[in-house]
Subunit: 319 residues, 2 copies
């Protein structure tokens, strides 16, 4: 599986688009705002650049694409107003894989400028320059020492390809325990018995995903040696925002939630699943996914996601 070609969120003109189904990812970005704020404040005050160069790795295409960037620009603007510093120019480079829906991203740029002008004034808008860079962050993406601040959210768990030696990994589609991924496991493993997919295809299917624990993240960063860890936290996000009473009260809500959950997953995983199993199974797969989620087999009421946020400084950055 050539992950770089199939690893993309569903495009904006797709029936089940990532743009319409990325509320959960938005929650995560909003949750880590204080840490971004602290990091950007720290970096900006130390360098006070004439032009602040910022990148977002794995920007995808949807309402979240500009969320972190907006927050970064807003924070610097706030610092400059408060401390009477000259507002820098901003060169922002939005990165994702070449198959990402960059047309949607670029069509949203004028709206971003418009909003900036309306809410923060002409001067800030005129100093902002948004661009895009297509490529995998498993390779180099930018010239040497050309960036001041890099943001990346819900991207680093994607591998460049499934690890080598998984050809006979028949028991799993993925290298960790996770109720979320188990839905795929369950459905895809049931399907050969129903004649929907071939057993050999199921056996060879592996998602290019890995979700490390906090200690693994710390160890890898320390071993690599280029970065200093400023902050490393694990935090919980409740994927289900309804109250217990609400959930126990109505079956309809569950059906709706199951569908929503299935769509959010489909917006992310559809290209990968289609490239391996073909397009024919996709509607059936997600109808069953929605039913399973609605029946709370795996999507129980206390469904929580564990997330890691890490803030790093390049060791030679201020030299």
């Amino acid at each position: 599986m050539a992950s770089e070609k199939v690893l993309r969120m569903n495009a904006a003109n797709h029936e089940i688009s990532y743009a319409d189904n990325s509320v959960f990812q938005k929650q995560i970005i909003l949750k880590i705002r204080p840490i971004i704020e602290e990091s950007i404040t720290d970096a900006f005050k130390k360098i006070v650049p004439i032009c602040m160069k910022v990148a977002d790795l794995g920007c995808s295409s949807g309402p979240n694409t500009f969320l972190a960037i907006w927050h970064i620009i807003e924070t610097v603007h706030g610092i400059c107003q408060q401390e009477q510093l000259k507002l820098p120019e901003f060169e922002v480079l939005l990165n994702d894989l070449p198959e990402n829906d960059f047309n949607f991203v670029f069509k949203s740029v004028p709206g971003f400028y418009e909003k900036l002008k309306k809410e923060r004034g002409d001067m800030l808008q005129k100093r902002c320059f948004i661009g895009g860079v297509a490529g995998s962050f498993y390779h180099r993406l930018f010239p040497t020492r050309s960036l001041h601040f890099i943001h990346s959210s819900y991207s680093l768990h994607w591998l460049s390809k499934p690890p080598v030696g998984l050809e006979n990994n028949k028991g799993n589609v993925y290298m960790a325990r996770s109720s979320y991924i188990h839905i795929y496991f369950l459905i895809i493993h049931l399907n050969p018995k129903l004649g929907v997919v071939k057993e050999a295809d199921v056996d060879s299917f592996n998602l290019p995903l890995y979700t490390p624990c906090k200690e693994e993240v710390a160890e890898i960063i320390e071993r690599e040696g280029s970065f200093e860890i400023k902050e490393l936290q694990v935090f919980v996000v409740e994927a289900n925002c309804s109250s217990r009473e609400e959930l126990l009260g109505s079956k309809d809500i569950w059906v709706q939630k199951g569908k929503k959950f299935a769509n959010a997953s489909r917006a992310v995983f559809e290209p990968i699943i289609c490239s391996h199993f073909g397009d024919a199974i996709i509607d059936k797969l997600y109808t069953r996914f929605a039913t399973l989620a609605a029946n709370a087999i795996t999507y129980s009421m206390d469904h929580k996601t564990l997330n890691i946020v890490v803030s790093l400084t390049k060791k030679d950055f201020y030299q």
Copy 2:
């Protein structure tokens, strides 16, 4: 007419795409190679940057998108080899309006890197970073003093909008004499009589185009004051490459050529025409266009285009 929204070449997945119908624009880029070579050599030798930042304004999406960039990188590579200078990194920003088909551009980036690696080696490829910037060059697109070299081909004749005061411009669709544009004039003006389009729509139609003469270009640059003219040339390109014998010999060739010419024009003007007259007329319009061109009413055997090439240096660039 909001030109920025409708001014785009036909996308790569369009039946008559710009990608498949831009041979003429390629001819122009190839023709001015010596001037690009001279300009880039001059600029590079004066600055010898660690990272050379290059932009292409109006890159569109098709095989020509990477043509000038390839040539610029290749020229610098040649100079470095010849003069044993350290090869710089290249940060290339491809610019076009937000409605341009950037998905096609970005999907072509890995192929560009691959070709660079194959033909010029690993080292050059690893030092190249391609990005995209969506926006009109009638506004600022890049941070202050952030570019070393800017290329733009067959873009600057596009206006940001038709000039003010053309509301009653019933006699023309355009502000200059040109056999090419006269085809549109002829066809569109014939159509109300055939009931295909409304006369009021014809009267209010104006292409956001202006093709100045050499003297006008020189005057505008001098009046603006920021740039020094290094070179200003007019050159001719024969849009018709067949021999006289060939053309006189067969009617089929003319039919084919008429169709090709109509497609090349359609790939450029379709979005503008559709946005004003609606989609319904488009097939009929270009069938007639092809017939007229084939019959050599306007597309005569000695069809030539006059082109202006200008090479400028920013006055304070080397300070």
